[in-house]
Amino acid sequence: MRHEDIERYGVKLAERVASQVDTDRRLESMMRAHRRGRVTLALATAAAALAIISWLDGLLEAEQPPVATQPTITAPQESGLSPLPVELYVVLRGGITVGDDGSCGGADSLEDIEEGWELTISEEVGRELRELMSIPLPAGEAVSSDDPQWAFIPFGDQQQACIFRLSDPGFAIRDYDRLVLDPGVLPESGVFTSIAGQRVFVVLDTSDEP
């Protein structure tokens, strides 16, 4: 086919759709959805984050037997920092397409991700994480598969969530209270944290909106 044919296909589709959609009816329908949907949306977001954390932790437990000999996490010492063998999981809810809070660029498919990926944590999310843990998270800068500390975990359904792991036994937790997941105090920033064993999950709910 010729280049100009591509343009004609696009124009034809746009014209066909414009002639068939009922904008007035949709505007009314949208207003009704708006009146119905406010509470549901907020609940769905929190529920989805909780479901992902539970799902991911279950999968990890199934794939890696629990390390029963490791000590349970206790309150930090007077220094405020308590080095523990912690693994940090960054979960991008919604898969590989994310918005401003984190981006997974240069990947058009799962195969591409496994070959190489790039993850950027925003300043806002990085600041929140730094308040919680002594993680040297390069906020605002990209980390990638070239960095051996970071690993992409290719299990589960990558269409639901894209998961990256940063592990370093030297991490320290600053604020235990905030790390324990409590649905009543979930931050509004879209960052959800949970601690299960020595794993910390951060769910970035940035899948659809820029």
């Binding site: 086919m1 591509i6 589709l13 759709v17 498919s109 909106e209």
Partner: protein
Amino acid sequence: MPDNGVDAEVELRLPEPFERFFRREYPRMVAVAYAISGSRWAAEELAQEACLRAYRQWDRISGYDKPGAWLRRVTINLSNSLLRRKVSELKALQRSAFGGVGVIDPHPEDEIEFWDQVRALPKRQREVMVLHFVDDMSSGEIADVLGISESSVRSHLQRGRTALTQRVDIEDWA
């Protein structure tokens, strides 16, 4: 007598009423959603959901330089998400709001192969091609929507065009 130039400038800074924004943008978002997701059942729902999100935050979004760019980004992300979902979810969607009947006519036979090939392009190429050829956007406008450079847009366009001309075996335009 008021200075028309000043009045015009002041008027330009006023947020656009949402209803006017919706009427202009909604049909275009349906076309974009249809081209990317390939679902005539879902295209209107995706466009409505994107518009609904804009409406809920209209106080903020209407203050943006380009609220339409925000809307396109959300529409594209929602459409890409749908494209990735499982066939079973699509079937459920078909049964739910539409009783199995698409609102928009399906692609005519001669266009099916073309749009299948567009959806088979790498994600960024697909997005750029749809915004350019369906939504009639310039390279600069697309760069704003996708948050990439204009030269990247041109590069994706060129590669997408080349791929389609090679892959789509259609001799005569219907």
